[in-house]
């Protein structure tokens, strides 16, 4: 790749983990390199999708892995355990694989970490697995010295089977973009806590396993559901950019249609953080053929996690790879977050 452009003393920075362009470039340059797509037409590393898909008989085996390092480990609406299960279940679901065969869980713990907290996290893992209809079938535990790791790190991997894989690059002109509920809840809840803002209101993470919700959408929409992605780090803005870029279409978003809770809206204004740049852990973005949009929307809204689903935009031929925001007042480009989201100074 373009390794020759990179300075010999270059360092990995926090922005390289923030889910935006910097992170994609790092992964592309260091890890993906010249990785080839699987020969059987499956999805591999080069696709940089939510997971991989390998052919097994007449089905697809979908697999994914993810590490979790949220600070603080307990936050309103969830904790690192619920996050670790939901994140992996959701990555599998976004590939169209909603029947989760099994998960693995590896834990790295800092010396001195409270045992009671660990048990609380374990209980939360079990509860989230029960919600998703799956179980942890193997795992690993390591303890590191004080200061060698920050509290606790979890890694989960998951496998699932499906007859039809939904990629994140399947958008075509006219396709409708659906989000399954309010955006920015997780990111702003954690940020408000981390910066001890002590804000009034009901800021609460949306962390949840989505396979039940997505199953319902796929049953209703069938082949009409052509692209899915969960807007985690980097938020809705990064996710839509990635989908638009890979599908080579433009996306026009109607700001007035995007569900945002009043407390997220208010906190975002206060901190100078656009909820569209903030992480979600219990939401999905679906690209749907125009004739399937109404039935998919109705199916999503019939599920407790999809009550506030909305059609927020559509795919256009202009400006492929870009997201155009119709603010209601005028139009502008929606850009991706550059790196770490920081509250503004004044």
């Amino acid at each position: 790749m373009s390794a020759s452009r990179i300075a010999p003393d270059a360092k990995v920075m926090l922005k390289h983990g923030a889910g935006g362009r910097a992170m994609r470039e790092l992964i592309q340059q260091v890890f993906v390199g010249d990785a080839k797509a699987p020969a059987d037409g499956g999805i591999g590393l080069a696709a940089m999708d939510d997971g991989a898909a390998l052919r097994v008989g007449d089905e697809w085996l979908v697999m994914t892995t993810d590490s979790y390092v949220v600070k603080p480990p307990f936050f309103p609406g969830g904790d690192i355990g619920r996050l670790a299960v939901s994140g992996t279940v959701n990555d599998l679901s976004m590939m169209g694989a909603t029947e989760i065969a099994a998960l693995t869980c590896a834990v790295i713990i800092e010396e001195g970490f409270p045992r009671a907290d660990l048990e609380r996290i374990k209980a939360s893992i079990s509860a989230a697995c029960a919600e998703a209809g799956t179980a942890i079938v193997t795992g690993d535990t390591k303890v590191m010295g004080r200061g060698e790791i920050d509290g606790i790190v979890l890694n989960t991997a998951g496998v699932a089977f499906t007859r039809r894989v939904v990629p994140d690059c399947g958008l075509a002109l006219g396709d409708q973009i659906i989000v399954t509920g309010t955006i920015g809840d997780h990111g702003l809840a954690v940020m408000a806590l981390r910066h001890s803002l002590e804000l009034e209101g009901e800021l609460c993470s949306d962390v949840a396993p989505l396979n039940g919700l997505i199953r319902r959408a796929l049953e209703a929409g069938g082949e009409g559901v052509v692209a899915m992605k969960d807007p985690t780090r980097g938020g809705l803005a990064s996710t839509l950019h990635e989908m638009a870029g890979k599908s080579r279409v433009g996306i026009v978003l109607k700001a007035s249609r995007i569900p945002v809770s009043p407390s997220v809206q208010a906190t975002g204004e206060l901190l100078g953080i656009d909820p569209m740049h903030a992480a979600n852990e219990g939401k999905a973005v679906l690209g749907v053929r125009p004739d399937a949009a109404a039935s998919v929307l109705a199916a999503l809204r019939s599920h407790p996690l999809g009550r506030q689903a909305e059609i927020v935009g559509s795919c256009v031929a202009q400006r492929p790879g870009f997201v155009i925001l119709d603010t209601g007042f005028g139009l502008r480009l929606l850009v991706e977050p550059e790196g770490e989201l920081l509250p503004r100074i004044c």
């Binding site: 922005k15 910097a22 433009g250 007035s256 100078g272 202009q318 400006r319 870009f322 155009i324 925001l325 119709d326 603010t327 209601g328 007042f329 005028g330 139009l331 502008r332 480009l333 929606l334 850009v335 550059e338 790196g339 920081l342 503004r344 100074i345 004044c346």
Partner: protein, 376 residues
């Protein structure tokens, strides 16, 4: 949101905005010139214009220029150098996050920090004073901002800060720089949109002499989309009628005489002195410095600041192509800069306008620039 009688009353009303955009179209047609150029002098105005996509509904002939409205951006290199020199001498510095990456002659505060200098990012002058109260060493607050922020600094000094606390003032005062821009030979500015929050302090009467002297109308406007559109409509109306007047389109916050208590606090602590604004010019009375009575809190008097040793470095070659000065003077826009979005990005800024969240280049970068999306 509730729907009362099918007629929803809301603050951010796209329907009213569309009607005002039509009014702007009509007004520029009546003026009959192309372009009609007006200038605002406030980063918050540019933020709102970009964030709501208002440029897409401005008439094609209406050119809304962002002037020197970002206090971080106009902080001059020698001012940054003073802070860097102090920091490199081992003095602990507190400042706003935006100030960290503003380039000095040789280095920024962020560079000094990476090399081991101790710099604390604070959200307010009060927080800096609290920090000092818990230290048994000197703490210098590198203060930036226009008269709005300077009032907060002044109020803190009046409240009696800890003895180990001092101020390195880079505060700026907006009214004089409007004179400079109005007198620039290349200027095309036919009217000014003045910043509502600054006028809350100074009052709108402060612009009356300016209007008389330069024959250019000034409209004070707020920061919601409708505030800005209404302010522009009023400004175009005054331009059309050739009426050089001050109009207050932000009466819910701004009075003619301003906030007298705040003015009293401001001028008790600060005095206006001339000084360079980065990229603009020497601005008579454009800098706010501590009065002699407060010299014991003035870092410039408390420490011997030697900046000359920083000047043996040649400025980085990229900086030579930076046109921040012309952008802040309203003569050029970021898209005319060869560095914009390429070598100069928020992560790695070359010029000051890309550093601050109120800088024109940063705002254009964040919101996708001034791209004409109407035809797309």
């Amino acid at each position: 949101m509730s729907d009362i009688g099918g007629n929803r009353l809301q603050f951010r009303d796209p329907g009213r905005a569309a009607a005002m955009a039509e009014m702007l179209e009509r007004l520029v047609r009546e003026i009959g010139r192309d372009p009609v150029s007006v200038m605002h002098v406030c980063g918050s105005h540019e933020q709102a214009i970009a964030r709501f996509g208002l440029r897409a509904i401005f008439p094609r002939q209406l050119e809304v220029i962002m002037g020197p409205g970002c206090p971080v951006c106009v902080t001059d290199m020698p001012e940054v150098d003073e802070a860097v020199a102090l920091a490199e001498d081992g003095v602990r510095i507190a400042t706003y996050g935006d100030m960290l990456r503003v380039p000095g002659t040789a280095r920024s505060l962020a560079d000094a920090q990476a090399a081991g200098a101790r710099i604390d990012v604070v959200y307010s002058v009060t927080q800096a004073a609290q920090l000092a109260a818990n230290l048994d060493e000197e703490l210098v607050f590198f203060a930036s901002g226009f008269e709005t922020t300077a009032v907060a600094t002044a109020a803190l000094l009046l409240s009696g800060p800890p003895a180990n606390f001092s101020i390195l003032s880079a505060h700026k005062y907006i009214p004089p720089v409007m004179e400079i821009v109005a007198e620039m030979p290349q200027t095309r500015v036919e009217g000014f949109l003045a910043a509502g929050h600054a006028a809350t302090i100074t009052g709108c009467a402060i612009f009356e002499r300016f209007v008389e002297r330069h024959g250019i109308p000034v409209v004070v406007a707020g920061f919601e989309p409708l505030d800005i559109l209404a302010g522009l409509a009023k400004l175009l109306e005054l331009i059309r009628d050739r009426r050089a007047e001050v109009a207050n389109m932000y009466p819910r916050c701004v009075r003619r005489e301003g906030n007298l208590r705040a003015q009293e606090v401001l001028w008790k602590v600060f005095r206006p002195v001339g000084g360079r604004w980065r990229g603009i010019a020497h601005v008579p009375n454009g800098n706010l410095r501590l009065r002699d009575e407060w010299s014991h809190f003035d870092a410039r008097r408390r420490f011997k600041i030697d900046v000359s040793r920083l000047w043996e470095f040649a400025p980085p070659s990229l900086a030579q192509s930076c046109i921040c000065g012309n952008i802040m003077a309203g003569i050029a826009s970021p898209s005319a800069c060869t560095l914009f979005g390429k070598e100069c990005v928020p992560d790695n800024p070359v010029g000051a306008c890309m550093v601050s969240s109120e800088g024109t280049c940063r705002i254009w970068h964040q919101y996708g620039g001034q791209l004409d999306l109407r035809q797309s």
